[in-house]
Symmetry: C2
Subunit: 453 residues, 2 copies
């Protein structure tokens, strides 16, 4: 039966051209991770629902893809729930497994499960797809890759400095100019302390973030609306108008947070990271940004985020320090710091700025035209030598019209066409045409290797 | 709430050590695919159930992992089916998507869906995990990787020769001695023709396959039991005792199949492939094996399978030619040939024969001990130079006891330990200890790069 084939919404096929670009991104990131002593792990696509549920909030639980149990998946389903079509309470009766939603929870599970085999500090990277039953839209997919790196089992701030160096190196290799925005959760806690409104910390960071767009008066009005006292708003003013160099911002913060022990500790951490990183002559700009609050409840120290300078785009990388990654799996007191590259957004930035290296469209280096059986066999022998020298090549499999064969070469963007006809067989040479210049000459196999290398 | 974390049965975590070995396998295979002009594609983990169902037989449908629809997945479930707990007919009401079961059906779907963008012949490779709800057992997993390469849109037998060259090259790089067993579906059809029992073709190939183990008399008894006439059994005798060189086997087959047009065509194809491949001085042994019948209903021409010679193990690679890959999706007449490497079995063979190259356990090249803040910052600057030269390195993040730091270096198998203390800072040198020989000297950064490269 003929069907019109398609794929589930929010998912993608990747063509050879797209794969070449994606591999360029992943390979670049991987090689930098390795250079910094991070090692890869992989975890299964499916995790037990007991591992995943409750880790991403109520909304996250809904966005998990659940896998129907094998065989008679209804055998544990209570009749009453079925009769009521109570799909919410039936889920865990029908399904024990789900697709991973991110790489952080599987990593926490991995660390706890393999704790006896791991040498701390454990530095791992992980590049795998994740799945979310989100409403698909431009730039948001139901299957997408995450590229995470984390160090767990060490609370040294040198780890932060190393992560910043990795970010700097990766984007330098991509040719993307970036600013790395830095904050510290302890500073945010300190701010909440000094204005006496710890529960308003989210409103405050949201307000700070809007300063550029709506201005001081509107932000203050919004804060009053959220229930902040006039005194608290006055205290916040220097924070809202925080500007200048990182040093100037730090000086203001030190005054503002002078009475908060945790706030001062946060400033000290920021200073360490900024000072140490800046002694390394990084390419990226480092900017203290007290409005940065990603995943507020999750991070406990450094918070960082990366923006591309030359293109309008959300954050392309982000992360921070957490003090209790594995507590939910019964292993307390493990501190870690990590971050994630947004591969899909980096893909878009490289496309927008046209930054892919020319050789990224990796295709066959040379194709041999097919002039018939004996010529093809002679070509295969030459191809063996070329491949031995690391030169990728292929034979057009049919001895059809030259025009058709040439069309194939063109459409694949193959830069060289090799021809072995009767005269080449006699002289044991190969005619090679440079498809860019149109130049054509006869070469011995040694010369051909030299030319094509 | 503390939970004891685990992963679903039949799935695996891969540690850095296992990842290094797996990457070695995949990278080796990939680099050979590219050398032969094959390009990568990727397809989503989830396919529509309408794409997957009915493609793997009734048993296969059961082994598909189905994904519960998002939101109210019961809203389309008829009350009657629910009341009857009719889990079989309810599946398609609760689930529209499944995890891919292999890479062949998604590839066929891809070719049909993107037919207007593809230049034929289309040569693709694909290395991705697949999922099967099989009963897990030693060596059989519910999540495992397949490594497929196919050429579609060409019926030239040169494609078969190229595939055999790829197999030869891949296993040569692995250092695994192999025999490539070859057969042709047309020969099997011819055999069924000449003995006048086309419907017995499966019984016959099973019987041929048992010759080594149970001998001619028992095989003949079995064939008689299956309903073959004495005349048919007599006609088969030369086939059952087929031995000698490929040439000798072909001579016997040519006599046996003299009256079968399709059989003779199959022999001709085998001869072409064997002759052309053997003119290329391959390392692998090529063996005509008329008992080879993998996926009988699927293949229409060449059938091939690879066995490791020095270890007891099932087939580690297999494939063949099919004439109607895409017919089920409404696109007829597309011939192709392809094969699949069994990555998990290759992993086991390399382990058993201890064939992994020494550098496979890719770890950090050098670790800098941490003697305190200033020393660590000085170390970071040296590390920047080393990384610039492509040397992977890391800093032990805490300035704890040397013993603890050295233990970490040892357990990660890091071959060099670098130390920057006060005297090294003054002389702007690095003390480097070779952990293998115990030798330790002071080096300038240039000398260190030379040493560690």
């Amino acid at each position: 039966m003929a069907q019109k084939p398609s794929i589930p919404k929010g998912t993608r096929d990747f063509s050879p051209q797209e794969m070449a670009k994606r591999n360029y991104i992943f390979d670049t990131i991987k090689s930098v991770f390795l250079l910094y002593g991070f090692q890869p792990i992989e975890t299964p696509a499916m995790e037990n629902l007991s591992t995943l549920m409750g880790k991403y909030g109520e909304e996250g639980d809904k966005l998990l893809f659940k896998i129907l149990n094998s065989g008679d998946y209804l055998k544990n389903a209570p009749d009453e729930l079925l009769a009521n079509k109570d799909y919410i309470h039936l889920i865990t009766k029908l399904s024990e497994k789900g697709l991973r939603y991110d790489l952080t929870v599987p990593f926490a599970r991995y660390v706890v499960q393999h704790r006896n085999d791991l040498q701390m500090p454990f530095k791992r990277y992980q590049i795998q797809p994740v799945w979310r039953a989100d409403r698909p839209q431009r730039g948001r997919y139901r299957e997408f890759y995450q590229c995470d790196a984390d160090v767990v089992g060490s609370d040294s701030l040198f780890n932060e400095v190393e992560l910043i160096s990795i970010i700097d190196e990766v984007f330098k290799r991509f040719g993307i100019n970036i600013v790395i925005k830095l904050n510290n959760r302890k500073v945010l806690t300190g701010i909440a302390e000094v204005i006496g409104a710890p529960e308003k910390i989210v409103d405050i960071t949201v307000a700070i973030d809007k300063m550029d767009k709506i201005g001081l008066d509107n932000v203050n009005a919004e804060l009053a609306e959220k229930g902040l006292s006039q005194q608290a708003i006055d205290t916040l003013r220097p924070l809202l108008t925080l500007s200048g160099t990182n040093q100037e911002k730090i000086a203001t913060l030190e005054q503002l947070l002078a009475t908060s022990q945790v706030g001062l500790k946060g400033i000290e951490e920021i200073k360490f990271v900024l000072d140490t990183a800046s002694s390394l002559n990084l390419t990226a700009k480092l900017e203290l940004d007290v409005s940065l609050a990603r995943g507020l409840n999750y991070y406990t120290g450094t918070i960082l985020e990366v923006k591309a300078l030359d293109v309008e785009m959300g954050s392309i990388c982000g992360g921070g320090r957490y003090d209790n990654l594995t507590g939910v799996f019964g292993m307390d007191g493990l501190s870690g710091v990590g971050f994630s590259f947004g591969a899909d957004r980096i893909f878009d930035v490289l496309n927008t700025l046209n930054l892919y290296p020319a050789e990224t469209s990796a295709t066959t280096r040379v194709i041999f035209m097919n002039f018939g059986h004996n010529e093809a066999v002679a070509s295969l022998r030459h191809m063996r030598s070329l491949r031995h020298a690391g030169i990728s090549c292929e034979l057009y499999p049919e001895s059809t019209k030259m025009k058709k064969q040439m069309n194939y070469a063109n459409s694949k963007g193959i830069p060289f066409v090799a021809m072995v006809g009767e005269s080449e067989m006699q002289s044991n040479t190969i005619a090679i045409k440079n498809m860019g210049t149109g130049e054509q000459n006869n070469y011995t196999i040694e010369q051909a290797i030299e030319l094509l290398k």
